[in-house]
Symmetry: C2
């Protein structure tokens, strides 16, 4: 079988080494004579996996003391609710930057619990840029931003200074670049884009933000209880945590998040250069806000888009169809996508363009 | 390496065929040239997995029309909260049968949302039996029972008749025997005991019980929204759902839940027979309530328990240590445990007893 380059937005491409480790662990783990899938989450072997996963998150991101690293379930969508449930009491204010459908969903969930509002929005322009002029109310309990907007292909190139705790959904670009965790109150990320498979959610939370809300919280939705139980209040998603560990071990082996940043800039640079120089293609969002994870583009001759997608699939370039709300194409080029995948795509774009000029 | 018999309470033994299918899917799935771990949950290949998983649940349990089959996240512990959030308004009454730590936790979560109370409890007797004399208030919105108590080794041999919707946590015995789903309003089960790996939670809910609560629900915790979105409101735990499918395909290939019941009765029968006839061992709970999934027993000479456990581990009988709140031993003998595992354990019990009489 020919190599397939996986440009899916998520679940997404993973390092081959991680998938092979997962495959082996399904049969036998760590000399136990048992599969990782069937061992107790209280076994010393899984406790080591969980501890190692926590440690490598701390190491790769330089998580300072005073933060907890949790592995939860439910994806970023459950965090949309857990954040306000834990941090925002009835009548209190929370600020949101509305940069896409997911940011907007986070805002909507927060409105169930308190006075959540958007300080700025690019919704009217189909989220093609990141708003930069806005004011965060001084009495806001927190300010929520989405670091990378998977659907639209925009990304915060830097994080705003914030007088109130900054909270970020980093689902689609965590571990793709260095982040100064000390500037955040809380970071969360579904694992299925840049750090593993669907089924676990990373939460990094500053100690003082736990146990604050006055409302009574269900145990599973209480950050404090989850932290006190080292993410083992109940049976954690064992295999998903293992896959996060193996994926992050690969990141570390490649030089960590600085090396990933360099690689991702190189990959995105090559692809955007082609989009900008090829007369058949054009980008869909503000140049200064372009994502290095999800590269969105359309054709100047939209009637050819179907043919291009078909050729791409046939050439082993998978998952390039753009989200229906943007159209065209989206190349998701997470950490595990090599430069060879970019070159294969660029090569097809050039060839297709020549044949259709 | 010698064969290891896995008697862990959960995550637990799985059919070898399911683990092998999982191992292969980690590398390549369905001729796609991609791993199951990296494909979009919106791909037709994963949609087929989800549809097949839903269909086989319906087929094996004979789920009638008018019920939804959902695959959620968060384990049974999140269901402890979701059930009352969705079904119990402030001031309304819910009835719980308190038969163990997990039943008690379910009750505690429900108290956050309404007037939840235990109609009976065996807590004072360390949950060694299932209470049978009680009255469910006529105004209760539902009656919650735990079908199998993993820690204590007790099991409902039949389900109580109930004038109000009957809800059951079947985490540790689902698919181990036939169940008349039409008698239940809602059934839920964490997957990591009898139907796959940790990371997904099965919910079977009667249509009329969705969308009832007056409170505003976070999207992820709303059964109605999850049903409307076919368990794909956000990215589902792809691999855990696949493993549930593969595990249930194995159940079907072995003759379905009636065949499982027969096998489980045979296995439990052999083990209890040894416990009752061997002078060194004794069971820990009421004979009429004994579980066919988790067999709990202690020694008449407690000072020898450590030595027995050590010999068991050396003989490849893994995970037999009893829960700290019961002590002694617990043999979890879920569907995938063969009669050969029981015979190996019984054989060691006999041999150890002879050598220590």
């Amino acid at each position: 079988m020919n190599k397939v380059y996986n440009f899916s937005a998520g679940p997404a491409i993973l390092p081959r080494e991680a998938m092979e480790a997962g495959s082996r662990a399904c049969l036998e783990f760590n000399g136990m004579g048992l599969s990782l899938l069937e061992i107790s989450h209280r076994s010393k072997e899984f406790e080591a996996v969980l501890n190692d996963a926590r440690a490598i998150v701390k190491e790769l991101l330089g998580v300072p003391d005073g933060y907890q690293v949790l592995f939860l379930q439910g994806g970023a969508s459950l965090q949309f609710a857990m954040v306000p449930m834990n941090l925002l009491d009835e009548g209190e204010t929370a600020a949101y930057l509305d940069t896409g459908v997911w940011a907007n969903k986070a805002l909507k969930e927060a409105k169930l619990f308190g006075n959540a509002k958007a300080v700025a929005s690019s919704k009217e322009q189909n989220y093609t840029f990141i708003p930069k002029e806005y004011e965060v109310p001084a009495d806001a309990k927190y300010f929520h931003v989405t670091s990378n907007n998977t659907i639209y292909g925009t990304q915060l190139q830097s994080f705003p200074a914030s007088a109130v705790p900054l909270i970020s959904d980093m689902s689609s670009d965590i571990f793709s670049r260095p982040v100064d965790v000390s500037k955040f109150g809380l970071i969360y990320a579904g694992s299925q884009k840049n750090m593993g498979i669907a089924g676990t959610t990373l939460v990094i939370i500053r100690d003082d933000l736990m146990g604050k809300a006055k409302r009574k919280l269900p145990s599973m939705l209480d950050y404090k209880l989850q932290a006190e139980n080292d993410s083992m209040y109940n049976t954690p998603p064992v295999f998903a945590i293992y896959m996060a560990l193996e994926t992050l071990k690969w990141v570390k082996s490649k030089g960590g998040v600085s090396a990933m940043q360099k690689l991702n800039e190189e990959k995105a640079g090559r692809l955007y250069a082609e989009i900008d120089s090829n007369p058949l293609f054009k980008g869909t969002c503000a140049v200064e806000d372009r994502s290095r994870m999800n590269v969105t583009f359309v054709m100047n001759k939209p009637e050819l888009e179907g043919a291009f997608l078909k050729e791409a699939e046939a050439a082993g370039l998978s998952g390039l169809k753009g989200h229906r709300s943007v159209g065209g194409f989206r190349a998701s080029i997470y950490n595990a996508m090599g430069v060879d995948g970019i070159d294969a795509l660029v090569s097809l774009m050039r060839d297709f363009s020549k044949r259709n000029s």
